[in-house]
Subunit: 224 residues, 2 copies
C-alpha cells in the first residue's frame, strides 16, 4: 500500500471527472476526499495539483479546488485548439501510419459502429475517444499524441453533454466514416479538414447547452 497513493488518487479523481460523476464547478474538499479514500490530505493535495496542471481542476488560492468549469469562450477556444491539433494529427497520420495503425483505426471504427447500431449513447463515448486516440497514435509522434490525449480528457466532460443532442451520435459516426476513408485513401488534406470540422462542430453547437450547464453547475456549487 506504500508509495502509490498519489497516482491512484489522481486516476480515480480523473476518472470521476471525465466520466461526469464529479460535475464541472463542483468543489473538491480535501478533508472529505481524504476520508473517502482513507488517506491523509497530503496525497490528495498532490493529486489535485496534478489535475490542476492537466486542466481538469481549478485551484483558487486559499479557497479550495473545483472541477474546472469552462466558460463559453474558453470552451469554444478549447475546441478550436483541439480541432487544430487533430487536423495536424490527421495530416501526419496519412504520411506515416503503418498497416497496424490502419488496422487499429478500422477496429476502433467498428467498435463505434456497434455502439451506434445498438443506439447506446453511453457506450459511444469511450469508442469515440478510442477512434480519435487511434488517429493520434498513427502519427508516430508520441509527444503529439500525449498532448492530444490530454486535451481530449480535458474536454471529455463537455463532449458528454454534446452527445445528448438528438441524432448527434449518428452524425458523429457519419463524420468518422468520412475521416476514415480520407485517411485510408491517403488524402491528408481531406482528412485534416474532415477532422477539423468534426471537432469544431461540437464546439459550435454548444452555446445553448453551455448556459444550461452553467446554471446547473452554479446550483451544484451553491448546494455543495
Amino acid at each position: 500500500m506504500r508509495g502509490e497513493a498519489t497516482p491512484r488518487l489522481r486516476e480515480a479523481l480523473e476518472d470521476d471527472i471525465v466520466a461526469g460523476r464529479l460535475r464541472p464547478g463542483q468543489r473538491l474538499d480535501e478533508v472529505g476526499l481524504a476520508e473517502r479514500f482513507n488517506v491523509s490530505r497530503t496525497p490528495i493535495r498532490e493529486a489535485l495539483i496534478q489535475l490542476a496542471s492537466s486542466g481538469l481542476v481549478e485551484i483558487r488560492p486559499r479557497r479550495g479546488a473545483f472541477v474546472l468549469l469552462l466558460g463559453p469562450r474558453e470552451l469554444i477556444e478549447s475546441f478550436e485548439l483541439m480541432a487544430e491539433i487533430e487536423a495536424a494529427c490527421a495530416r501526419l497520420a496519412v504520411r506515416r501510419m503503418g498497416d497496424d495503425d490502419r488496422e487499429a483505426l478500422k477496429s476502433a471504427h467498428h467498435a463505434c459502429a456497434d455502439a451506434v447500431r445498438a443506439g447506446d449513447t453511453e457506450a459511444y463515448y469511450p469508442t469515440n475517444a478510442a477512434f480519435h486516440a487511434a488517429i493520434y497514435a498513427a502519427t508516430g509522434n508520441r509527444v503529439l499524441a500525449a498532448e492530444a490525449l490530454r486535451l481530449q480528457r480535458r474536454l471529455q466532460p463537455y463532449r458528454r453533454l454534446q452527445l445528448r443532442v438528438p441524432r448527434r451520435m449518428d452524425a458523429s459516426f457519419a463524420e468518422h466514416e468520412a475521416i476514415l476513408s480520407a485517411l485510408l485513401a491517403g488524402d491528408g488534406e481531406a482528412a485534416a479538414q474532415a477532422v477539423h470540422a468534426h471537432v469544431l462542430v461540437q464546439g459550435e453547437r454548444f452555446m445553448s447547452l453551455i448556459t444550461a450547464l452553467q446554471d446547473e453547475a452554479e446550483v451544484v456549487a451553491r448546494a455543495g
Copy 2:
C-alpha cells in the same frame, strides 16, 4: 509566512530551468532546495509536481525529481508539435488580428532586430520568444496561446543550445522577417508554412548538439 511560497518557488525553479541555470538531467534534491529557499519540503514538493505536469521536470517515483532531459526522439517530436501549433497560430492570426496585434508584432520584431544588430545572442532569446508569443496572442484564442507558451517554455532550454550554431541568429531573424511579411500581407498559408519551417529547422539541426548535451548532462547527473 504567507500563502505564496509554492507559486514563488515554482516560478523561481522554472526560471532557473528555462534560463539554463539548472541543466537538463540535473537532480533536484528536495532538502537542498528547501534549505536554499528557506522553506519546508512541502511547498518544494508541490512546486516540483507542478513543474513535472508542465513538462519541465521529471519525477521518478521514490527516486527524486530531475530537470527533464528530452532524448533525441522526444526533442524531434516536440519540435514537430510546436511547429504544427505555431503554424495553426499563424493561420488564425491572419484571420483575426487587429491593429494592436500588428503593432505588437512589429514592435517585437524590432526588438529582435536590435539584438541581431548588436550581435547579442544572449539578448536574442527573450526577444525571439516574445516575437513568437506575439503571434500566439494575435490568434485571439487564449487557450491556444497558453498552450503554445507552455510548449515554448518546455523547449526553451534546448533552443538556447540551438542558437550556439554559427550564424543561426541571423538565419532565424531572416525567417522572422518572412513570417512577419506574410502575416501582415494577410497570407495565412504562407505565414503558416514559414513558421512551420522556422520551428522545424531548429529541431532538425539538433542531432549533433543533442548528443553533446546528453553526454554533458550525464556527467552532471553523475557528478551531482
